[in-house]
Amino acid sequence: MSKKTPELNSASSADIAFLLLSYFLMTTTMNQDSGLQRRLPPIPDENQAVEDQKVNRRNIIIVRINSADRLFAGNEPMDVSFLKDKVKEFLVNPNNDPNLPERTPKEIEGFGTYNVSKGVISLQNDRGTSYKAYIEVQNELVKAVNELRDEFAKAHFGKAYLSLNEDQQRIAREAIPQNISEAEPKDVSKK
């Protein structure tokens, strides 16, 4: 009878693996980075004459947060919870109100012409505004645009925006642009 080879004692290999495991648990993080993505406007050239970009008065909505975190949208005080509907109404202009932004037909590749709103949301804040309030307002603005894109996607493709393919998402993005302008900081302390 042949001799059995002695088995390698593997009892400690579990301990070694546990040690490695706890090392990785300590040194690594799992948090997913998430946030609201924005593009800042490039700094205007100093040599260039400051030309006032005259946006038609009706095409702009000014959203302002003061140092006490109070919100003004289109010059009326407002609660954050109403901002989304206000912005949606501003961007859609369902009744062709002359005080709301005009919509001009625009050729979108792969879709055809669509009346794209020319509305721009101008977000202004004070130095004393809390970051929390600022993000809350930013979030409402993004939410308004996202809901409009969703409605557009449902109406034209019969699906939610997120389940569209890349090309369709591009069409929806072009049809409902996210025009949020973060204005040049200005001194609003005297207000």
């Binding site: 593997s10 009892a11 290999s13 579990a14 070694i16 693996a17 546990f18 490695l20 495991l21 990785f24 648990l25 040194t27 690594t28 993080t29 799992m30 997913q32 980075d33 998430s34 946030g35 609201l36 993505q37 924005r38 593009r39 800042l40 406007p41 490039p42 700094i43 804040n125 004070d126 130095r127 004393g128 505004t129 809390s130 970051y131 929390k132 600022y134 993000i135 809350e136 930013q138 979030n139 993004v142 939410k143 996202n146 973060e182 900081p185």
Partner: protein
Amino acid sequence: MAKFGNSGSKKEVPGLTTASMSDIVFMLLFFFMVTTSMRETENKVMVNLPEASEVAKLERKDLTSYINIGSPIASLQKMYGTDARIQLNDSFKTVDEIRDFIAAERDAMSEVDRQYMTVSIRADADVRMGIITDVKQELRRCSALKIMYAARKPAQ
């Protein structure tokens, strides 16, 4: 009931085999190695991110630079006070030093990736906008225009 019947033989209870235990632990280990990332910097400011429901996930973590803004952690408050400060890498910095930081981060990236560089502003919810506006202006001056306001999804 034959098992209990043969009282004559001395059968030992077979030992619990632990050979597979290491495999299980290794599996766990690989799971954590894949899903987590190394902690790069030590936080010197307390950052309690604001909540936002419309957050989007960051696509390329390696192309992101972080700017932490908040009041110093409790152990450093004796030295630095509780005023909001900017942390770049591992130390407190002023707004003017952001320029060098961005330049250094840019240099560390490959030529192709530079245009996709994102600056993630991780600011505490209680920070005033003044400091953030300053940071934003400085970023515009360095033409690091792609930014992200870090926020977390509210718990449903």
